[in-house]
């Protein structure tokens, strides 16, 4: 054949194949069904993309399939950490060709600002990616844009048949991040401050001195926080007495954590307990020094159940052994992890490769039980972490008998992003964006709670206007958070449309927040000492308009569900919990109030004029899924009331505190006098430097009490920042609550607890 002929023939073939392939490509691009591999905040923005305002359905991509075999695009939404890596890889491998990958957000693309010991620095470590979406989180428009980009790619694809993706990669060993921050000055001054003897007065302090003279090491009061150091040997008895003795009555253990003082102190670690007495409205911090040579202490699990996971976390992060803990395993980091990351000498960027997902103890338990009873091998069902009801990051492994759950265990850590380590390596003001990503459903409130802790450390009060803005936007965030919780809960029950009904008002709230600070989800609006800038001029009008429109949506939701027989059947009596149990497990927020305990920080320990606002605390009776729904619905209404009053009384004035240690001097001064210039320079260069001290500050977030335990070493970075996320304590009870129920009950219950992975796993 002559060359010309060959050419001609080829052209002919091309003609046929191109029109054929363009038809196929047209079909493929018009029917891109996503698999939403959602893990974190980005997943919420993806949900917004599906909601009415943006409607992904227009592109034919709304058929979200949770079976990898039936979907075309793997959308990786959010941070992927080392523990999640193998799961992601497995899902990808199970997808049918042709398949594409969209990486949404800075985290999935490159690890984002989590250059940390447990976070994958971009999913292209393990997967080939077709489209990257920049942003943190990308706005919904960007997601739509990515879909269009992918459609263009598919359209121009010349391959007719797909073999397995040629770019598939193996898991590779992560490199140690080179940007490890040097250690701060040794905590000498801090240790001296903590050990300094102080004579503290006050009811709890005197009572304690009287009762436990021999167990006491020292006592100190700082910014109203009472903290007591006691001896390790008798710690358990003392703490037990604190709980059971009616004079103390510390029924709730809010938090257990540890602090590392390196070799600056004879006992290297402190194990720290935060206690709350609901009847006396008292709080106290108990600290138990633990030496490095023998890092052991008695477990408090049999005193307060809430110690369960918190102790596991301290074990994971600091390597402290809790004697007598029933199930002391790593909790946040993966099973192959080496080292204890929150020790001060652990390099923040040191990752360990994770290649496997392990079975939980329930498998072994169920097998043993079956053997001892002479039964057949138990049926083990694994749900998650990538299961639609498990919200992408939790894993439930259950021994089931038909549809009933006989025994279960949960695993978390698939979104552990090293928040606490990250805050130790960043300056005080740099921590604010990280806090946004704790409970990303209501990012505003995390920022407020964090800023409050630094302000408490300084002992300052922020201007009234800033307080009111914080209140208004926080309450709006609470509404948005509750709406999302209720919406997704109902979707889990099968009532899908509620998703759109609840996302609609939420979008409107986001519009308001966006008008204040430019961010939708992760707002970074709060600053230490106030808020970033004043609200826009039309703020009050816009907020008032929202006050008008939200009740309409809420009423619609209520009409659709409250009287619905099926909804009632599915929710009443499900995972009911008694008030005592709820307190013992450390429940706070709506889940605790649904169980009948009217504890709400806004009423019990009011700040920011909450004592001046009129509002009620709704409480439930049985603590079941239905009550949680009712409580949340009512809280939305109460929040609207608060906002209305706050808007009426919104004072004029500055929104940033006038304190040269915290906020920048006015520009005029910087240009005209040397003091202000120096001040400006120092603040920019060194940041905010609080005095030495330790505080625990708390705030009623949407899920419950959100606390920050902050230790300052008089440097620009927090010495230790511990976050007490309400979810963490609620979720640990989950596997106990679902035992004996149906599988479907577990699904209904999880949605009603409103577990947000970012906050749960830090």
């Amino acid at each position: 054949m002559k060359a010309e002929e060959i050419e001609q023939k080829r052209e002919h073939e091309n003609f046929f194949t191109t029109s054929y392939s363009s038809l196929v490509n047209w079909a493929r691009k018009s029917s891109l069904w996503p698999y939403p591999f959602g893990t974190a905040c980005c997943a919420i923005e993806f949900m917004a993309t599906v909601s009415s305002h943006y409607d992904l359905a227009r592109f034919g991509s709304e058929v979200v399939r949770f079976s990898p075999k039936q979907s075309d695009v793997l959308m990786v939404l959010g941070t992927i950490n080392d523990k999640m890596g193998p799961v992601l890889k497995q899902i990808y491998d199970q997808m049918a060709e042709p398949k594409w990958v969209i990486s949404m957000g800075a985290c999935a693309t490159c690890g984002g600002f989590y250059r940390a010991y447990h976070v994958m620095q971009g999913i292209d470590e393990i997967l080939p990616v077709d489209v990257y979406i920049p942003g943190c989180p990308p706005v919904p428009e960007a997601v739509l844009d990515a879909i269009i980009k992918l459609q263009q790619q598919v359209e121009n694809d010349t391959r007719l048949s797909y073999e397995r993706h040629p770019r598939q990669q193996r898991l590779k060993i992560p490199e140690v991040d080179a940007t490890v921050h040097a250690l701060e000055r040794p905590p000498r001054a801090l240790v001296r401050f903590l050990e300094e003897k102080q004579d503290v007065q006050g009811p709890i302090a005197s009572l304690f001195k009287e009762r436990f003279p021999d167990d006491l090491i020292s006592m100190r009061e700082f910014r109203g926080d009472l903290s007591i150091s006691i001896k390790r040997e008798t710690a358990k008895q003392v703490l037990r007495t604190l709980k059971t003795d009616p004079d103390f009555n510390f029924k709730m253990l809010l938090d257990v954590t540890a602090v590392d003082y390196l070799s600056e102190r004879s006992a290297r670690y402190d194990v720290v307990y935060h206690l709350l007495s609901l009847s006396n409205k008292h709080r106290v911090r108990i600290k138990v020094p633990v030496p490095a040579e023998d890092p052991t202490i008695d477990s408090m699990f049999d005193v307060w159940k809430s110690a369960d996971w918190a102790e596991r976390e301290a074990f994971d992060m600091f390597g402290i052994q809790f004697k007598g803990h029933p199930d002391l395993r790593r909790i946040l980091t993966h099973s192959q992890f080496v080292g204890n990351p929150l020790r001060r000498d652990f390099p923040p960027g040191q990752r360990t490769l994770c290649t496997e997902t392990v079975d939980l103890p329930v498998v072994e338990r169920a097998r043993k039980y079956a053997e001892s009873m002479g039964l057949a091998q138990p049926q083990i069902l694994n749900m998650g972490p990538q299961h639609p009801a498990m919200h992408g990051t939790f894993r439930l492994q259950a021994a089931v008998d038909g549809e009933r759950i006989v025994d279960a265990d949960t695993e978390i850590g698939f979104l552990h992003r090293c928040f606490e380590k990250m805050s130790e390596t960043h300056m005080y003001w740099q921590v604010i964006p990280y806090t946004d990503r704790l409970n990303y459903m209501s990012a505003m409130m995390n920022g407020v709670a964090y800023a409050m802790s630094v302000e408490k450390m300084f002992g300052v009060e922020i201007p009234k206007r800033a307080q009111y803005i914080r209140v208004i936007l926080s309450e709006f965030s609470r509404i948005a958070d509750h709406l999302v919780c209720i919406g997704t809960n109902l979707v889990d029950l099968g009532a899908i449309s509620n998703f759109w009904y609840s996302f609609r008002p939420r979008e409107e709230i986001y519009d308001l927040i966006e008008s204040c600070c430019g961010g939708r989800l992760t707002v970074s609006y709060v600053r230490i000492g106030g808020v970033a800038n004043d609200v826009p001029a039309d703020f009050i009008t816009r907020a008032r308009a929202l006050l008008q429109s939200i009740p309409k949506y809420v009423d619609d939701l209520e009409k659709l569900n409250r009287q619905n027989r099926i909804f009632k059947m599915r929710t009443s009596g499900i995972t009911a919990i008694s008030a005592e149990d709820a307190i013992d497990w450390g429940f706070t927020g709506p889940t605790l109030r649904a169980a009948g305990v009217p504890y709400d920080v806004r009423k019990w320990f009011p700040n920011y004029d909450y004592d001046k606002f009129e509002f009620d605390i709704p409480v439930g009776e049985s603590g079941d899924v239905f009550d949680r729904y009712l409580v949340r619905m009512e809280e939305i209404r109460q929040s609207l009331r608060i906002i209305k009053q706050a808007l009426e009384n919104l004072p004029e004035g500055p929104v940033q505190i006038d304190d040269r240690r915290i906020s920048l001097p006015p520009k005029k001064g910087v240009y005209s006098n040397i003091e202000d210039l120096m001040n400006h320079f120092e603040l920019i260069q060194d940041g905010i430097i609080p005095p030495i001290g330790e505080v625990y500050s708390y705030w009623e977030a949407a899920n419950g009490e959100l606390g920050f335990y902050l230790i300052s070493n008089n440097t620009k970075r927090p010495y230790r920042l511990r976050v007490r996320g309400p979810c963490f304590y609620i979720f640990q009870a989950f596997s106990h609550m679902v035992k004996g129920g149906y599988l479907s009950d577990a699904v209904a219950a999880l949605g009603s607890l409103n577990i947000v992975a970012g906050e749960l796993e830090k």
Binding site: A27, I496, Y742
Partner: protein
């Protein structure tokens, strides 16, 4: 033989078969479009708009895509049954259309036991689901299959019992005759539809029909939030599409049957020129079915789903006794009059 093959009856028959099946397959594809559109409107959004005008080409794109998608058979699956299952699900679902009268003469075969035929053949469909779930050799599909078999068996009972009353009144099992018996009106304005004679049976029928077709609030076998995809979790590509088609075909069958049994089938006012009189019955029929389908979609977009045990209780403790009582009362009345 050859003579028969070119005889007008045979050609007419072929034309009917092609017409009806073509129409049914087309409407199955567009049912998905309809469902997506209606749900979108309920949820305050536009739904598919980009692929063709009003997104009308969406089903075609979806179908084509499935054809060209990799077909995965899990290694631990029972290969033979895994392949067989979607076929078992789809074929009976389509077969039932052969006895459904779409118009006075628009029916492939008017069996004298048409109704029995439909019930017999559609109950085969459950084997597709059970086999598919079992052959996948994976836990979620297995649970989906278990749920679905229990559910379908229970609801089939009340479904069948609910129509007994109608049969006692009409005295026939042929679908064509069932329709003709409902022609005409009472007092000149109330159509002689069975729904007015058997309202309870109608309600029971509709509820059981929704359960039979695995639709919300009875979609436990598939329930995305619990079982990921239920029995078809492991299916990809065309096999998955076949399951979907079967589901929609079943939806269509039960709606058609409801129309025939209770709403007078293709009967309706006839007027206008001859050609209009020819097509009107089919239009009435399709219109009545559409109402059902619309109702289905609305239900799907508003209600939460039952739990497994509640579903079973509802069937055995509520629907079944009700259906039996209905039969008893009907037979008493029939016996007396």
């Amino acid at each position: 033989m050859i003579e028969y093959l070119i005889s007008p009856e045979f050609l007419l028959m072929m034309a009917k078969i092609v017409g009806i099946f073509g129409g049914v397959m087309g409407s199955l594809a567009y049912l998905t479009w309809l469902e997506r559109k209606v749900m979108a409107r309920v949820q305050m959004r536009p739904g598919p708009t980009r692929v063709g005008p009003f997104g009308l080409l969406q089903p075609i794109a979806d179908g084509l895509k499935f054809l060209f998608k990799e077909d995965i058979i899990p290694t631990q699956a029972n290969k033979f049954l895994f392949i067989l299952a979607p076929i078992v699900a789809l074929i009976p679902a389509l077969l039932s259309f052969s006895v459904i009268p779409f118009g006075p003469r628009l029916q492939v075969a008017d069996l004298s036991v048409g109704l029995l035929f439909i019930f017999a053949i559609t109950s085969l469909g459950v084997y597709g689901i059970v086999l598919g779930g079992w052959a996948s050799n994976s836990k979620y599909p297995l649970m989906g299959a278990m749920r679905s078999s229990a559910q379908m068996i229970s609801y089939e009972l009340s479904l069948t019992l609910s129509v007994v009353g109608v049969l006692m009144i009409a005295n026939t099992l042929s679908l064509g005759e069932l329709v003709t018996a409902q022609q005409g009106t009472w007092f000149g304005f109330i159509p002689r539809w069975n729904i007015f004679l058997q309202p309870v049976a109608f309600v029971i029928y509709v509820v059981s029909a929704i359960a039979e077709t695995n639709r919300l609030p009875f979609d436990l076998a598939e329930s995305e939030q619990e079982l990921v995809g239920g029995w078809h979790t492991e299916y990809s590509s065309m096999k998955f599409a076949m399951f979907m088609l079967a589901e929609y075909a079943n939806m269509l069958t039960v709606s058609a049957l409801a129309t025939i049994l209770f709403l007078g089938g293709w009967t309706g006012p006839a007027f206008g020129p001859d050609w209009l009189r020819m097509v009107l019955p089919t239009i009435w029929f399709v219109g009545k079915i559409s109402v059902f389908i619309f109702f289905y979609v609305l239900l799907r977009s508003t209600l939460p789903r039952f739990r497994y045990d509640q579903l079973m209780k509802f069937s055995w403790k509520v629907l079944l006794p009700l259906a039996l009582a209905n039969i008893l009362i009907t037979s008493l009345i029939v016996a007396i009059s």
